[in-house]
Symmetry: C2
Subunit: 335 residues, 2 copies
């Protein structure tokens, strides 16, 4: 299989070119630390804040690299994708920045806030039934009709190279990391991270974290063949997708391990980051810290880079009780 996918695997040069291409458009996000979280884990943790990236997630790196990689004749009819999440917003903004149309196929049950965000970047949305089949067939029609260039959310070397630039910045800023952690869904961020890290320093371990409730990457990694998820239920909505083929090949070769985290552990880690770091991260971004807090990986005395993948969360739907809830409950008790 490797002989088939090898020509598609981004080189260090590809990732460096991506970094150069997206510079000034994509934020160089800060790296932050927390004394109290270091105390909790015993490690020296460096958080790469992709929640502070434009559109609120690392996805803008890959999307921008993909859109800017297109020749003029490829770009002229715009770009298209299907996504209910951060890739949709990222591609929409990347296309607007280049001045070309974006066509986004979204499941009709997508959160209104995400639909509005995609619209606000000027993309044209086509709604479909909320199944993978409907998404793919609707996208095919859109592409046939418009001549737009399809940009896959993760199973694409330009996307992988773009996502790898976050890790490149992190290892440029923090020397001698023992471990780099990233969450894994479709595998775009993880495969880009693994390539960037291993090209620069093979001694740095790359360890992925995944929700136990959507552990297709874990099972695929352990069994050596892709085992897709079947409609997984996890609060980490960005990690429900199953591994891409290109991503899987890279992950098998360059990732050292994958650990899993409970739903409770994800919420706990998310709240810890909110409280201790004053940073808003989405559940997916909290998955690696969740693994550490659940003791799935011992980082005592180690320097660990963690990619906080994004911060897009609906503030009206937080996974803990709040003012309104307390008030209503108190009223319940009172009457």
């Amino acid at each position: 299989m490797n002989s088939l996918v090898d020509p598609w695997i981004p080189t260090l040069k590809d990732i460096q070119v991506a970094a150069y291409r997206i510079e000034g458009i994509v934020n160089r996000t800060p790296v932050m630390t927390s004394r109290s979280i270091n105390d909790m884990t015993g490690g020296e943790l460096y958080f790469k804040c992709e929640n502070l990236q434009r559109v609120g997630a690392f996805k803008f790196r890959g999307a921008t690299n993909a859109v800017l990689s297109l020749r003029d004749d490829e770009a002229v009819n715009g770009v298209a994708t299907h996504s209910s999440g951060n890739h949709a917003q990222a591609l929409a903004l990347a296309a607007r920045n280049r001045g070309i149309p974006a066509y986004i196929v979204m499941p009709k049950n997508s959160p209104k806030v995400k639909v509005e965000a995609v619209k606000s970047y000027g993309a044209q949305i086509t709604f479909c039934e909320p199944t993978l089949e409907a998404r793919e067939s609707t996208l095919e029609k859109v592409v046939d009709h418009t001549g737009a260039h399809f940009v896959h959310p993760y199973d694409d070397p330009r996307i992988i190279a773009g996502q790898g630039t976050a890790a490149l910045e992190l290892i440029d800023e923090i020397d001698h990391l023992d471990i780099i952690m990233a969450p894994v869904g479709g595998g775009g961020l993880l495969s880009g991270t693994a390539l960037a890290v291993k090209y620069v320093n093979k001694k740095t371990e790359v360890i992925a974290a995944e929700p136990l409730n959507a552990d297709d990457a874990y099972r695929s990694f352990k069994s050596g063949k892709i085992i897709p998820s079947n409609n997984p239920d996890t609060i980490a909505d960005g990690l429900k997708t199953s591994l891409g083929e290109l991503n899987f090949g890279i992950i098998m070769k360059h990732v050292d391990d994958i650990v899993t985290v409970s739903e409770e552990g994800i919420v706990k880690a998310m709240r810890t980051i909110w409280e201790r770091m004053k940073l808003i991260v989405e559940p997916s971004a909290a998955v690696p810290l969740g693994a550490l807090l659940e003791g799935k990986l011992d980082v005592k005395g180690k320097k660990v880079g963690i990619i906080l993948s994004g911060g897009n969360v609906d503030l009206d739907e937080l996974p803990w009780r709040s003012n309104g809830f307390t008030t209503v409950m108190e009223q319940d008790f009172r009457y």
Copy 2:
């Protein structure tokens, strides 16, 4: 009156010495920007992120400066204060860093989360009735009993000089600001900010923002005499205190204007910062942006520095509905 307070007013040198003294203990916090908030206001806004300061608020600057200013014979019996908020935590940690005791008088209705935080820094807490009189008389007893050195939360030149270091960093990093904004409660942050800014560049306007529901600084500023608040009710819990005397003198001389904000405006600005900047700020920190979003100050085309004063907020008591609330309401409708 000025002749009375003048000897107590920190000089530029005092603020610079404070900056030198607290360096390496206090975080040099990042300055962040938001394209979308710039679009909303028409200005070029630079947020100084004191919510990312240690203990989650600028208060750690002043407390650290005060504690490190003490001679050994002054410090030997520790420090004491009364506070239900961020100053209590800040002084507790500053004292622990110097290895001296901290005695904190807290109203017995203080939020449990704040009491726990103060305890976690090893301070000794004495509870009192929730009135200013009880706080002051209890503090007097504690000081008599322990010989500890009283550090006032804001009406103290060492505190003012320490708080002024945040603005000093901001103007060091961002050139040619037209305006600097800070919230005002007791006036420690505002008077320190005004001194630092005006010593360096008289052309930069210093404009304070205050909750309309706790507008003692506004009324004092406009009338030229201190008019204390009477038990004000505002979500910006850090800004309920009335102006200190030393602070008032500095503010009258160096602050260009004070604007007020509605409670709704504070919540809207807080949510805007959470959503657009992915930063957790407490209501008090959102007061200046609230004034801009309410049109109290026109910043079109201007470079504006805003001090985000802190990020200590109880995530179980957010001023908007959340998951729990929705669920309970839906159940109410269902049954």
